[in-house]
């Protein structure tokens, strides 16, 4: 799915991972984030933009300042891929089992 691919791209970059690490501790303004890096403010704000686009980071206006927050819900999508895949299909097979039970019961009732 597209949204998931976006997250992978977002966290593939070490600077963006570092930004996430900072924001996980507390909300920060773009200026305060940039102070932690050697890169230009412009570069950092590009990174923040990418993180915002895939919703790993949320922005909040406080007076004249914009604060960025880490959005942990989105990070839930990012855990071990194989494990996710296994869990996903385990759940699907549960649904399949339930559905098979349901339609077989229906058939029996008709007889």
């Amino acid at each position: 799915m597209e949204a998931r691919r976006d997250i992978f791209q977002a966290i593939a970059d070490p600077t963006r991972r570092a930004i996430l690490g900072l924001l996980a501790l507390h909300a920060m303004t773009p200026g305060a984030i940039a102070e932690n890096f050697d890169s230009s403010r412009q570069t950092i704000s590009k990174h923040i933009q990418i993180l915002t686009e895939c919703e790993l980071v949320k922005q909040e206006q406080k007076g004249r300042e914009i604060y960025y927050h880490f959005n942990p819900i989105k990070m839930k999508e990012v855990s071990d891929w194989v494990d996710q895949y296994r869990k996903y299909w385990d759940k699907k097979f549960d649904s399949l089992e339930d559905y098979l039970a349901k339609i077989q019961k229906k058939k029996k009732n008709k007889r």
Binding site: W81, Q84, D98, A101
Partner: protein, 162 residues
């Protein structure tokens, strides 16, 4: 029936098995009929619309999943179709060809039930490792991740209480 419900990785394969309490023909039917497949396929909480489905080698299942406030277009191309025992398909249209994988699902009768074996076939073992590496790529973050985990637990709990 625990021993029938397994998951393992072998080289470039991820293999799932599940013993289903239903005859093989019926299991085939719920995988290949749009009316049935919409009842269980796709992420929980999503609904599904089939635009077209022809379960034949080289033909496609064209469908949309609805969820998280948007529509997700999907296409599956059937590769091998041996009713009612084997179905192989591949997802098409992924951005990078390397990450594409195909899936083979086989149905076998065991003690009056149906043993489903699903093999997800990747181009190489390295691709699976790459996928794992990518999603585990959060650095400097054990603490962050622990915090995250605890926070998520809280969220899940509070959702339950609602």
């Amino acid at each position: 029936m625990k021993e029938y419900n397994t998951f393992k990785q072998e080289e470039n394969l991820l293999i799932h098995t599940r013993l289903l309490d239903a005859p093989k023909d019926l299991v085939w039917e719920v995988w290949t009929n749009p009316e049935h497949i919409k009842e269980w396929w796709g992420p929980n909480g999503f609904s599904l619309t089939t635009k077209s489905m022809s379960v034949e080698s080289g033909k496609i299942w064209d469908f949309i999943m609805h969820g998280m406030g948007r529509d997700w277009d999907n296409k599956i191309e059937y590769v091998e179709v041996k009713k009612p025992s084997l179905l192989t398909y591949k997802h098409t249209g992924a951005e990078s060809e390397d990450y594409n994988f195909s899936v083979s699902v086989s149905f076998e009768e065991v003690e009056g039930k149906t043993l489903l074996t699903m093999k997800s076939i990747f181009k190489s073992k390295a691709i699976i490792e790459e996928l794992n590496r990518k999603v585990n790529a959060i650095e400097g973050g054990r603490q962050t991740l622990n915090r995250l985990e605890n926070y998520l637990k809280l969220l899940v709990e509070s959702n339950k209480q609602r």
